[in-house]
Amino acid sequence: MAGSGLQILAAYPKLGPRGQPFAWYPFQDVTPPAWARLGGWLAGARHWHFAFAWLLVLNGAVYGFYLLLSGEWRRRVFLPRRDARNALQTLAFYLRLRHEPPAQGLYNGLQRLAYSGALLLGLLAVLSGLVLYKPVQLRGLTALFGGYDTARAVHLGVLSLFVLFTLGHVLLVALHPRALVEMVTGGEKPRA
């Protein structure tokens, strides 16, 4: 999705409508590097993007149902009243402002925040993508995003945050290789 999306971006590497580029966007006219692009040309990339977009939506739907029906959301989703304090304390611990980590179960508040953030990003990616796919048929959603060109900026912004999220995890694994196993398996569940 990312590679074909960047190939699509390369066809018009600016943000903002014609004649009114968004002033805040620092990468106007910067074409994404060839190694990051997939699909070869605009039509090829669009076919990749729309083919895998449907699989992404399917995957997200299956996952969402699993999260809800299994009750797993209670353990994974950030609930401010429960997790905000723990998240702050964990952050303080990571920043060496605190000597002891706060007490936690399988996941701490900061992990739940990051996890929920990634879910929200996935949702935003799909919704802003739907606007770019059908700006007229889904005109209500388009208006909600503040228009087609804003949705395009959000779509690219979501990708940037996903890249940061991924780089963060790769860095974590580089520092603590054993974390990889826990990332893949979700960690050992506390025994009942």
């Binding site: 066809a11 076919h47 729309f50 083919a51 449907w54 087609y148």
Partner: protein, 231 residues
């Protein structure tokens, strides 16, 4: 543990190799990508609501005219011959040859809607002309014609449409832009303009409109761009 990881990796690598063989970017209408494209075509037809109108944009959203891109495939701006007239044919009761004057006698429609290009940019202009549905009625288009083909004098640029999109209230044969007669760079004397398709479906420099029972591809569609291209 190590063995299990390797097995899993081998499985993933094998699966992605299989997937890649079915994903050929130079022939996106074949293999896996082609199958998904056919699914996507059905999804696009299902999502298209013939009654849904694109919002009219405010005057302040108008793109400065010099920034509204002009695309044609000829090396120079195509110029209409002095004897220009539009042929309307195919499955119609009254095959016709219409001048711009003839078209002006049909009800005029005005649009100021956002243009969505396949490249990702958007722009706004005002367009006026006659609705394709009014032309269809004037020539007596047969209900069996489920597709409408638009042809041009721009080196054979053409595109074929599903009939419901062509009959949409915001699909025009436009003879004017931003209140002026249509400029040569934007498709004079007559171009297709619509709020419900990507830019490459809107054929400029029109010569023919044919009501047909089958889709007939198009300039970009034949090279691999999606055929429906609704927005």
């Amino acid at each position: 543990m190590r063995d299990a990881l390797l097995t899993r990796r081998r499985l993933l690598v094998g699966a992605s190799a299989l997937g890649l063989a079915a994903c050929d970017s130079t022939r996106p209408q074949a293999g896996f990508l082609g199958a998904m494209e056919r699914f996507n075509l059905r999804a696009q037809r299902a999502l298209f609501d013939p009654e849904r109108l694109a919002p009219e944009e405010p005057l302040s959203a108008l793109t400065p005219p010099e920034h509204f891109p002009a695309y044609f495939i000829s090396p120079e701006v195509p110029r209409a011959p002095a004897s220009w007239a539009l042929k309307v044919g195919g499955l119609v009761a009254r095959p016709s040859v219409l001048t711009v004057e003839d078209l002006r006698r049909l009800p005029r429609a005005d649009l100021r809607v956002r243009h969505h290009c396949v490249e990702g940019w958007s722009a706004v202009a005002a367009w006026h002309g006659v609705r394709v549905r009014d032309v269809a009625e004037a020539v007596g288009a047969d209900p069996r014609a489920g597709y409408v083909e638009f042809r041009s004098f721009d080196l054979g640029y053409a595109s074929s449409w599903d009939r419901p999109s062509a009959m949409h209230a915001q699909t025009l044969l436009a003879y004017g832009m931003n209140g002026e007669p249509l400029p040569a760079a934007h498709g004079a004397p007559l171009r297709l303009y619509s709020a419900v398709k990507l830019g490459y479906k809107m054929v400029k420099y029109l010569t023919e409109v044919n009501f047909l029972p089958e889709p007939t591809g198009g300039y970009w569609e034949d090279q691999g761009y999606e055929w429906f291209a609704g927005v």
